[in-house]
């Protein structure tokens, strides 16, 4: 939090130093979200609330200096009716960017996406996932970073330094979609240092005709915490513990006609598994996507996606997906309302249950759009993540207003 204040003061300082035209040239965009989430089954654990509604606001300010320098500031606020961990303020971006013909430098708070797969992005190592905000895991916290990118014929060479680690937001005592007991919000443990122990990443990517390749090295904290049992007044609590890891990973995508072949892989060392062992492991997402254009009437496109997610730790992995098959279809109606339906199912090949996800989104007016999302968690074996979520299948309706 202190870092945010510092950066905020920096911004104020820079505003005071420039003329009034600064304010006129600032581009502003805002999105207001209103959402309600309904859980058909009653809560399993004590103190959990049943349904929740929330209001969120995301704004973005953008200013371009002369000579290819710019700054973007994007604060986000959510107020949630039931889970205090879901009510929050975050700076999704506060990034200064400067670039030349073959280089780019940025620093501040940013969002970085490295993945190619649809079910899970193993290789996304820069930002922490905001699990409370978004059960599909697509929302990320703003990450303090400095990034330098070099562009050469041999590809894009990127270096990142992340000076401050952000723990994963997890549901609070009253929230749904949580473990029992819930994770204590305070005092997460950071192995071999503190939140201020820097992390480092190096990445390369390039395109060779149909093929897009990338590779990275990462030295820092695992984004997913392991459980640190803490007994307070005779009551067992979960605390989060983050381990230092070393990781080599990469992506491969071949785009061949209407067929896309995708792969993400990581080789990681240093993370504790469920048995508290620190053996190295590999994890992969391998998939294929096929696109049908203009089926069913004039404009509808259909994508079929099949991905297999593997983690060599299998059931010792704290990840939900470790030996799972992901099957999905995306219907893009290409109509006036930009309507889209995304349906996916995840089958655990170890017989550890199924997850079904559904998302329908469409434009309502030029400045209003709506989304209906749902997830069903089924047949989790006792002790598994899906078993923990057995009462938590949900349906969410969200309206998004743009201004």
């Amino acid at each position: 939090m202190r870092l945010f204040y510092l950066l905020y003061i920096c911004l104020l300082f820079s505003i005071n130093n420039t003329s009034y035209s600064f304010f006129e040239d600032i581009e502003f965009e805002g999105e207001l979200f209103l959402s309600g989430r309904y859980f058909p089954s009653g809560p399993e654990y004590s103190s959990q609330k049943n349904n929740n509604s929330s209001l969120a606001l995301k704004t973005e300010f953008f200013y371009e200096f002369e000579q290819q320098d710019s700054i973007v500031v994007s604060p986000f606020i959510r107020l949630d009716s039931s889970d205090s961990n879901r009510s929050k303020a975050d700076l999704r971006e506060f990034l200064y960017t400067s670039y030349g013909e073959d280089w780019e430098l940025s620093f501040g708070i940013g969002q970085v996406f490295w993945g190619v797969a649809e079910s899970k992005n193993l290789v996304d190592m820069v930002n922490q996932v905001d699990e409370v905000e978004d059960a599909f895991g697509l929302t990320k916290l703003g990450q303090p970073l400095a990034n330098f990118t070099f562009i050469r014929d041999a590809g894009y060479f990127e270096a990142y330094i992340m000076p401050y680690f952000r723990p994963r937001p997890l549901p609070g005592k009253k929230g749904r979609l949580r473990t029992d007991p819930h994770f204590l919000k305070n005092n997460p443990k950071f192995e071999g240092g503190s939140q201020w122990t820097p992390e480092l990443a190096l990445r390369w990517l390039n395109t060779y005709g149909e093929i897009d390749l990338s590779a990275h090295l990462f030295f820092g904290y695992a984004k997913n915490p392991s459980i640190d049992i803490r007994v307070i007044d005779g009551i067992t609590n979960y605390g989060a513990a983050y381990q230092r890891i070393r990781q080599l990973g990469g992506t491969l995508q071949r785009t061949s006609g209407s067929t896309l072949y995708k792969m993400e892989y990581i080789v990681r060392d240093g993370q504790r598994d469920a048995n508290r062992n620190r053996n190295g492991f590999i994890s992969t997402v391998t998939g294929i996507e096929y696109n049908f254009y203009r089926i069913m009437g004039d404009n509808t496109d259909l994508s079929l996606i099949l991905e297999y997610i593997y983690d060599s730790r299998r059931d010792r992995s704290s990840e939900l997906l470790q030996d799972d098959l992901f099957m999905a279809s995306r219907w893009s109606l290409n109509d006036n309302f930009n309507s889209e339906v995304f349906v996916s199912s995840i089958f655990d090949l170890d017989g550890d249950g199924q997850t079904y996800q559904f998302e329908f989104s469409r434009r309502i007016t030029d400045s209003l759009s709506g989304t209906v999302k749902s997830a069903i968690y089924q047949n989790g074996r006792k002790g598994s993540t899906l078993y923990i979520l057995r009462q938590d299948s949900w349906l969410e309706v969200e309206l998004k207003y743009f201004f």
Partner: protein, 268 residues
């Protein structure tokens, strides 16, 4: 004797030559190709353009919706153009951008930028026949037109449709790519400046699907003609799409480095 024989044979050859002249003259296919090459040559050297566009989609009941976007195009020597499309309106898609490397031979390379996720996604360029943002334009109607992407056949020379004082070449173009949504296009191009006036699109069943009219041509840098109003009508559905090109800037000094994954993330 030898000399007279030579002269004689020359005369014979001369006659022969005259009589077979129509065979040596260009076929309709050759003429079609020559016209396409000529039109392409007239557009060479434009370097780069930046355009602001408003698209109006109208369904058969007259209900309208508006799309706004701008595009940047870079001429690439020896290959197809590079371009970036950036959406401004409606707001739910604003900031979404598409980077395309057109190739003279083989499929184009295409990347999509999704601003909410900060994700650059390599996408299939096979969706040529797919609708562009729900409009009556398919992706292939808007992509960079390269000579190599069609085979040609000249049909006739007639008065330009809707512009009778000019004479137009009428060419048939046959897409080389099998993923095209058309069997053929019939293109009316004026003889004075090789400006396209009208295109009829024939679907896979070889039935007339759409008609596109180009008008409001303006000349830039004393050479390049650009239409500022495009009107597409779908004969099957009665839907139509108008494109108003509000502004075109030529030769603003765009570079190759403005058309890569890194710059795609920076556009807004």
């Amino acid at each position: 004797m030898k000399q007279s024989l030579k002269i004689f044979s020359l005369i014979i050859l001369g006659f022969l030559n005259l009589s077979i002249l129509p065979v040596f003259a260009e076929t309709p296919e050759e003429k079609g190709l020559r016209l396409a090459i000529e039109a392409d040559l007239r557009d060479q050297g434009f370097q780069d353009t930046t355009s602001d566009m408003v698209m109006t989609l109208r369904n058969a009941h007259g209900e309208e919706s508006i799309r706004e976007f701008y595009s940047k195009t870079l001429e690439v020597e020896g290959d197809g153009d590079k371009s970036i499309f950036i959406f401004d309106h409606p707001r739910d898609v604003s900031g979404t951008a598409v980077l395309t490397f057109t190739h003279k031979a083989g499929p184009d390379d295409q990347w999509l930028y999704l601003p909410a996720l900060k994700r650059v996604k390599r996408i299939s360029s096979d969706n040529k026949s797919g609708s562009f943002v729900g409009s009556e334009f398919a992706y292939e109607d808007l992509s960079s037109q390269e000579v190599e992407k069609y085979t040609y056949k000249w049909i006739e020379d007639i008065a330009c449709p809707g512009f009778e004082e000019e004479i137009c070449y009428v060419n048939e173009d046959y897409p080389v790519d099998k993923s095209s949504g058309y069997t053929r296009r019939v293109v009316w191009m004026d003889q004075s400046e090789y400006r396209i006036r009208k295109i009829d699109f024939y679907d896979r069943k070889n039935e007339l699907l759409k008609t596109l009219i180009f008008s409001n041509y303006k000349q830039y840098v004393e050479k390049y003609w650009r239409a500022h109003y495009l009107h597409m009508v779908n004969h099957n559905t009665g839907k139509e799409t108008e494109v108003d090109i509000e502004k075109i800037v030529f030769q603003s000094g765009l570079k190759d480095s403005d058309f890569n994954r890194q710059s795609l993330k920076r556009v807004r």
